[in-house]
């Protein structure tokens, strides 16, 4: 049964919003009076909301396991090379789109309050709409090239939004780093697509065809099919590590916190960074093709989760703690994907999106009320000053560390269960979950309990955020409680009571330890002003590794090629000088010696003609 509204409605409205707001932002640049913020804000929030409504309508109408497809037209078409614009709406798309459009709507609403009075208000709203468009295309596309369009599109929006406050070059550096590291992953995406192309032409780039070919065994006659599939999966996984900030391409995400906080909540916590998990779930047939590959995914995911949890313990910037927490949670999602439980991975994406968005928005509210302060060593005792924010963050905190009954508890529990059969992996993951409780409790204690450690000036100006910022936070907090009950996973996950108990016990031990320890041991603020944004405190060698593998070779190449280039230029000048020198020498023949010249040219012409006529033929 086909529905009446076409699928392109969903991405169309955010695109329209991006263009309209962009036009307003451009035309208003030189005018004295800035665009009316209330009107712009209402406009900016309405487009994502329409998308959300459209998605809900599709989701309601869609029968269980139903699939809508729609082809808009051809994109690159030459000979047998056919790539088209096509959309695919199935149960996976449904989950992703529902929370992407929903959370974007809430965060745009929040931004109306957060970005109030900023010079680039309209531009910011335009970028957010453009981001939503790209993200919808990424999720809704029915083929890899179109997903790549969205994939690069969200990367571009991330670049634009991280460097949004572009007067500070450190922000721009962070934005460039985010784009470049993602670009490295994107080349992996391209190579993955090319491998599939080599395997079976452009038809394999379509998800439906790919899954059919992989399960139906129609590739059996292709030589090296198995090897090519593994190579393709490897390249595409590399792309996922870029977008989802896994080892080895994870260094950009902490730096990307230089952007405005709503951006961090939306792009770098809830939606864009989960694109890698989405791609793995979408290509589950490809990634689950070989067991060896799954082991690699599991190990990478586990290492990332553990590393980021440790790094999160050592940060002092409230947003960076949350950023490392995001990396760690993404590691959990990849763990589930590596174990083959793709539905569980998507379930954790879903619950984590609400939780982390609420946490980031809460952090944004704290930063906003403290006038831009991000260092938790200069906070403390905010529970009574910002009660609403405190309660929201408390709910989100409880959800993230996995207290029973809240959203992330259900998904994290299922993840731990999915790798329960491998004890080494399981206990490391459990340890990471305990660490999650420790660093999150540390954040809560240092921000909200104890005495305020900032300047008295800040304390006087402290205020609870406006209602337009609080409403989205409360809705997200409700999501932190309820999202866990959404029926998103298969029925066949058995529940082991030991896993639940171990998980809960570990969490409670972790949080009580942290609560006691960090109430007593409050880190001192060193006094001097540290850089916020690009400067990072601790990235555990990966920045050095990137430097060694990426920047250093480029520098060496530059320093080798520069002399080469100079040498070539000097050669050119030397060769060019030869005729000049010769002409100086031969000048005596030219000046005032017409007869000599004439004679020479006649002779040479005769020789030339003779040679032409008699030797060439």
């Amino acid at each position: 049964m086909a529905t009446q509204i076409p699928l392109w409605i969903i991405p169309f409205f955010p695109l329209l919003g991006a263009l309209a707001l962009g036009a307003i932002a451009l035309t208003r640049t030189k005018s004295e009076q800035p665009a009316p913020e209330g009107y712009i804000g209402a406009l900016a929030v309405s487009f994502p909301f329409i998308s959300f409504i459209a998605t809900v309508m599709f989701a309601i109408e869609m029968p269980r396991d139903g699939v809508y497809t729609e082809t808009l037209g051809s994109w690159i078409s030459i000979g047998s090379f056919q790539v088209s614009f096509g959309f695919l709406f199935d149960s996976l798309t449904k989950i992703m789109l529902l929370f992407v459009t929903g959370i974007t709507t809430l965060i745009v609403l929040y931004s109306i309050g957060y970005m109030k009075g900023d010079v680039g208000y309209t531009r910011f709203m335009s970028y957010l709409n453009l981001f939503l468009f790209s993200m919808i295309v990424l999720v809704l596309s029915d083929s890899l090239p179109l997903t790549f369009l969205g994939w690069e599109g969200v990367g571009l929006c991330s670049y634009l939004l991280v460097g949004f406050w572009n007067k500070d070059l450190l922000n721009c550096k962070a934005a460039n780093k985010a784009f470049l590291v993602n670009r490295v992953g994107d080349v992996g995406f391209l190579l993955g697509m090319f491998t599939l192309l080599a395997l079976g032409g452009t038809s394999l780039l379509n998800y439906a065809n790919l899954n059919e070919a992989l399960s139906g065994g129609s590739l059996a006659h292709v030589s090296f099919a198995r090897e090519l599939i593994i190579i393709a999966a490897f390249f595409l996984f590399f792309a996922c590590t870029g977008k989802s900030a896994q080892i080895p391409l994870l260094t950009w995400l902490p730096d990307a916190m230089a952007g405005p906080t709503p951006v961090s909540a939306l792009i770098h916590a809830a939606t864009m960074v989960t694109a890698g998990v989405y791609l793995m779930a979408r290509l589950s047939a490809l990634f689950a093709f070989d067991l060896f590959f799954s082991v690699i995914v599991l190990l990478v995911a586990l290492a990332t989760a553990l590393w980021a949890a440790i790094a999160g313990l050592l940060q002092h910037d409230i947003k960076k703690i949350l950023a490392y927490s995001t990396i760690s949670q993404l590691g959990f999602m990849f763990m589930a994907a590596g174990a083959g439980a793709y539905d569980v991975a998507i379930f954790h994406v879903f619950t984590h999106a609400f939780t982390k968005a609420a946490l980031f928005l809460g952090a944004g509210s704290v930063i906003h009320s403290l006038g831009g302060e991000q260092d938790i060593r200069k906070m403390g005792g905010l529970a009574f000053k910002l009660p609403s924010t405190f309660f929201i963050m408390l709910i989100a905190w409880a959800s993230l560390i996995g207290l029973p009954g809240l959203a992330c508890f259900w998904s994290k529990d299922l993840i731990l269960e999915s790798i329960y059969s491998a004890p080494m992996l399981y206990y490391t993951a459990l340890f990471t979950a305990i660490l999650t409780a420790v660093y999150m409790t540390r954040l809560m204690v240092l921000v909200f309990l104890g005495k305020f450690r900032g300047s008295s000036h800040t304390a006087e100006h402290m205020h609870e955020s406006s209602i337009v910022m609080q409403v989205p936070m409360w809705i997200l907090a409700a999501g932190c409680i309820l999202a866990g009950y959404a029926p998103l996973t298969n029925e066949n996950h058995h529940t082991d009571i030991f896993v639940i108990l171990a998980c809960c016990g570990g969490t409670i031990v972790g949080l009580s330890f942290a609560a006691v320890y960090f109430s007593k041991k409050i880190p001192r603020y060193p006094g001097h002003n540290e850089l916020v944004g690009f400067a990072r405190t601790w990235t555990f060698l990966f920045d050095k590794l990137h430097f060694l593998l990426g920047i250093l070779p480029a520098r060496i190449a530059m320093s080798i090629l520069d002399p080469v280039n100079r040498f070539l230029r000097i050669t050119m000048i030397v060769i060019g000088a030869i005729p000049v020198i010769c002409s100086e020498g031969l000048r005596f023949m030219q000046v005032n010696k017409l007869r000599v010249q004439l004679a020479l040219s006649v002779i040479s012409s005769v020789i030339l003609a003779y040679w032409l006529v008699f030797f060439i033929r």
């Binding site: 369009l149 690069e152 599109g153 572009n166 070059l169 470049l180 080349v187 080599a198 480029a554």
Partner: protein
């Protein structure tokens, strides 16, 4: 008919421009706009009707070599000619603010240059005709640099003209030799004659034919003329040099070197591709460390065209179409970037990108256009560059050595690195003090002229079918593919065996069979 008019029109317009007033800048500007718009309109019409070609006319006979004249405007030829007319129109629009004097003379030279470039692109069948235009385009370009260039323009002109002229000397000798052997300057006759020559001679001729085009493109060891020329030329001219004239080098490879020396190219393909890729990497590495804005663009141009050349050497129909898309995309984005970097250079009075900055704050419209063009140069999907790079990289991946695609990917990453660095330096950062930025703003013409560039970048990025479709009609493409060559040979053998002198064979075929 139309195609002949399109060839003549720029020269006629050039003569018309001489008649315009040199004192009244506005009147000569209007006249120049009209004169550059007419070829563009005509070329657009030709694109819409799918191209035209003329018959072969005997131009003159010289030492028993029949020199013919024919115009061929389909596929790559037509699109490149269209690109040249478009860039000339835009360049003239920007020249009003770019040049402090002598718009009239600039238009005269520009139109002459446009005519020669179009002529070179339309000469896909007759070698002498191609060589004529190939050499002729250096003259107006050199004169324009000499008249309107920067401080080091003298050196730039000498470098440019001497380097490119001497680069084509081997081509001239090779062409002369081949034509004398073939008794004709027709590409089919030449390709046939080549097969009768000893292998060593074929290789030498191949090198001779490659050097001239490698200089023009430019490829790695023969690029030294490029950076000084592009940086010293007035920026509307730089846009044409990089956007249209450099394409003649790639075009020469696609239309002349590869079809004639098909055997050599196929044989050495695995050496030629890394050669072109090295050129691309080399350009990227040098672009990464440039602080002179136009030199940065020059090396970026070298990098992109190196990638296009690597795609060309894949010898695949799909990739060839991708190369065409990439060339058009590069013409639009590099041309646009040259315009806007030139404007920034004019505003700040410096070519050092470290002295720029904060245009995003002071001139948001300029910054938006500049940023868009930069992002388009990075080849993000939705822009035309992506379609080209996608097709080329997949061609490299399937070229027999998949590692080439990885190198191509490194070029893509590097292009993002230097373009983002450029954007960061030019657009972002704190507003420099005492810069007098408040006084500068984008003029009406400068803003409006960017619209077609942006629109076309997006249009071809989302819907490259107009370009790609013109490559699906293989019969009309003079750049012979392997299969076509075989068909042609079979046809020829058939003719010879039948000893047919009948009416089926056209003039050129008759000649070849006579030879044999």
């Amino acid at each position: 008919m139309l195609i002949s008019i399109l060839l003549i029109l720029p020269f006629v317009c050039s003569c018309l421009m001489i008649a315009s007033s040199s004192r009244d800048v506005n009147s000569s500007f209007r006249m120049g706009l009209l004169c550059t718009a007419m070829p563009l309109a005509l070329a657009t019409v030709l694109v819409f009707i799918g191209g035209q070609q003329t018959d072969n006319y005997l131009w003159f006979s010289f030492l028993e070599i029949d020199i013919e004249f024919s115009l061929y405007g389909r596929g790559l030829s037509l699109w490149m000619a269209w690109l040249a007319t478009l860039l000339c129109f835009l360049a003239f629009t920007y020249s009003k603010t770019a040049l402090s004097f002598g718009i009239k003379k600039f238009a005269v030279g520009l139109l002459a240059l446009e005519g020669t470039i179009i002529g070179a692109f339309f000469s896909a069948q007759n070698l002498v005709q191609f060589l004529f235009f190939f050499e002729a385009m250096i003259l107006p370009a050199a004169i324009l640099i000499a008249l309107y260039g920067g401080l080091k323009r003298r050196r730039a002109v000498i470098t440019f003209s001497l380097y490119t002229l001497s680069g084509s000397i081997p081509l001239l000798f090779g062409a002369w030799y081949l034509m004398a052997k073939a008794g004709s300057d027709n590409i089919y006759a030449i390709a046939e004659t080549l097969k009768t020559l000893p292998l060593a001679t074929q290789t030498y001729l191949f090198i001779a034919f490659s050097i001239a085009f490698a200089v023009k493109t430019p490829l790695f060891p023969l690029h030294s003329w490029q950076s000084i020329t592009y940086s010293e030329a007035p920026y509307p001219l730089s846009a044409i040099l990089s956007g249209a004239m450099a394409k003649v080098g790639v075009f020469g490879f696609a239309i002349w070197t590869i079809p004639i020396f098909h055997k050599q190219v196929t044989e050495y393909s695995l050496y030629l591709i890394p050669f072109a890729l090295f050129s691309a990497l080399y350009g990227a590495a040098l672009a990464l460390q440039q602080i002179n804005i136009k030199r940065l663009l020059a090396f970026s141009s070298m990098s992109h065209l190196g990638l296009a050349m690597a795609g060309l050497f894949c010898l695949d129909d799909v990739v060839n179409a991708g190369v065409a898309v990439m060339l058009i995309g590069h013409g639009l984005t590099a041309g646009g970037l040259f315009f806007f970097c030139g404007i920034a250079q004019k505003w700040t009075g410096s070519s050092d990108i470290k002295l720029y900055g904060a245009f995003a704050t002071t001139n948001p419209i300029f910054a938006s256009i500049f940023g868009f063009l930069g992002i388009a140069a990075v080849a993000v999907p939705c822009t035309v560059g992506f379609v080209g790079e996608f097709l080329i990289l997949q061609g490299l991946f399937n070229s027999g050595f998949a590692f080439f695609a990885v190198i191509g990917g490194i070029c893509v990453i590097c292009s993002a690195a230097y373009i983002l660095r450029l954007i960061k330096n030019v657009l972002f950062g704190p507003v420099p003090e005492n810069s007098g930025r408040a006084n500068v703003s984008l003029s009406k013409f400068e803003g409006i002229a960017a619209v077609p560039i942006i629109a076309l970048i997006l249009y071809f990025g989302l819907h490259p079918a107009p370009i790609l479709n013109s490559f699906e009609n293989k019969n009309e493409n003079p750049a012979l593919t392997e299969q076509e060559m075989q068909e042609f040979e079979r046809f020829l053998e058939h003719l010879i065996n039948m000893e047919a002198q009948d009416s089926i064979a056209n003039d050129s075929l008759e000649e070849i069979s006579d030879e044999q």
